[in-house]
């Protein structure tokens, strides 16, 4: 039986391939969940009661049910309605829908934090409602939302591990597979845990960099 170091070296390529898929599904979900989150937040702050209600219902439903059950619902439940998605598509859909609900709340707080005067100023300049939203309100709201949004993205990377339960071959799945073949559970899960820790810390570090850049204008400037 090879020692732990050699075993780790041998299983590292497989684990890294899994980590790559974890990154892929997380990255795509970050984009989709952000776009959908903005849309839901826009609904929640819209002047139309029906839109506001629909936005609130979306957020409450997806935030108050477990992600695992949502994944099972999409992967096992929807085929009975004729909608058959692959594990990757199901995982991507469930992760995006779930995270979008959390992102929507963050964006909503950001939208509400934009001072009224700015909206009025934009209107006074003759911008259309869409132009006001796109060029004045949204850029500010996104900057205000960035720190909380980063937390959601970190949670998303961790949550992507749940997709292993429907057979997507990402990091957690690879770890389970390796463990089943080698029975070296301690080494395998230890290595996978460290890889997740690395992914999460790298993402957190990157997000801090983005925050520092986009929020630089808020810091007092040296003359």
């Amino acid at each position: 039986m090879p020692g732990p170091a050699q075993f780790w070296l041998e299983s590292l390529p497989a684990l890294l391939r899994g980590a790559l898929l974890t990154l892929q599904v997380s990255g795509l979900s970050i984009v989709l969940a952000s776009l959908l989150g903005v849309a839901v937040a826009a609904c929640r702050t819209a002047p139309v009661p029906l839109l506001r209600w629909a936005g609130a219902a979306y957020v409450e439903v997806f935030r108050n049910t477990p992600l695992l059950v949502q994944i099972f619902f999409v992967f096992f439940g929807l085929p009975r309605l004729g909608l058959r998605l692959s594990p990757f598509q199901s995982g991507l859909a469930a992760l995006s829908l779930y995270t979008a609900a959390y992102n929507a709340e963050v964006f909503r707080a950001g939208l509400e934090a934009v001072p009224r005067g700015l909206r009025e100023a934009a209107a006074a300049l003759g911008l259309s409602p869409w132009q006001r939203f796109r060029h004045v309100i949204l850029p500010l709201a996104v900057r205000i939302s960035l720190p909380a949004l980063g937390n959601n993205f970190v949670a998303l990377v961790k949550n992507s591990s749940l997709v292993s339960t429907i057979g997507m071959v990402e990091l957690t799945f690879v770890a389970r597979d390796l463990e089943a073949w080698t029975f070296r559970s301690f080494e395998v899960y230890g290595a996978a845990t460290l890889l997740y820790l690395g992914l999460v810390l790298a993402l957190a570090w990157g997000l801090r960099g983005v925050e520092a850049r986009t929020l630089a204008y808020l810091r007092p400037r040296a003359r």
């Binding site: 477990p66 099972f72 619902f73 591990s161 301690f186």
Partner: protein, 216 residues
């Protein structure tokens, strides 16, 4: 659609829901107690601080599912063999404690320094200052995020299904395996979780608003 399957298995699913709530309450109680200790340790320095920080980072920055696997499949390699329920409950307790610790630390650090200084200058020992001056104020600030954490924990108990602990998600999966009514059962399971989690969320939001109104 076969809604009769739902009716026929309603008692079984409700039993699962009872398991979910029981596991949730257990994890909340143990996690809160352990989390308070870890959170207070994070306020000190030295070895205790380093250990507490390591604990918090490890359990907050890795997926809960990995922690469950590690404890259930990994620890037997070290001679520690736990049954699925204990393993899942232990992993979730550590996860809850790590998050509680950050809430406790954040709330205590948010109390203005002057409160400490005033308490100390009145002749209270550090422990007395914490107990009689700081904690009563910090506890109010902890309450909304703690309730938010409880909702998260209640949802996360579904991960116990992965090691086959009997709770709502496991109950749902077993019914689906038997009846193939996947759409109906998963929808009802989701609805049952919603029924428990939504009131908790609403209560959290109300409390948050009240506390904000009081301090404003």
């Amino acid at each position: 659609m076969r809604w009769d399957v739902v009716a026929a298995n309603a008692t079984y699913l409700l039993e699962g829901l009872r398991g979910t709530v029981a596991l949730g309450l257990l994890v909340m109680a143990l996690g809160t107690v352990l989390g308070f200790g870890v959170g207070l340790a994070r306020l000190g320095r030295g070895v205790l601080y380093a250990c507490a920080t390591g604990f918090v980072e490890l359990f907050r920055d890795t997926p809960l599912i990995m922690q469950i696997f590690f404890i259930f499949f990994g620890l037997p390699a070290l001679g520690i063999r736990l049954n699925p329920f204990v393993a899942a409950a232990a992993a979730m307790t550590f996860f809850a404690a790590a998050n509680t610790a950050e809430i406790v630390r954040g709330a205590i650090q948010s109390i203005p320094r002057g409160q400490w200084e005033a308490a100390r200058s009145l002749g209270l020992s550090p422990a007395q200052s914490l107990r009689w001056v700081i904690l009563p104020q910090a506890l109010r600030r902890m309450l909304p995020p703690m309730m938010g954490l409880f909702t998260t924990l209640l949802k996360d108990t579904s991960l116990a299904a992965i090691v086959n602990v009997f709770e709502l998600t496991t109950a749902g999966r077993r019914v689906v395996e038997r009846t193939l009514a996947s759409f109906e059962i998963w929808l009802v399971v989701a609805a049952l979780y919603f029924l428990v989690c939504y009131p908790l969320s609403v209560a959290t939001q109300r409390l948050e608003r009240r506390l904000v109104a009081e301090t404003a």
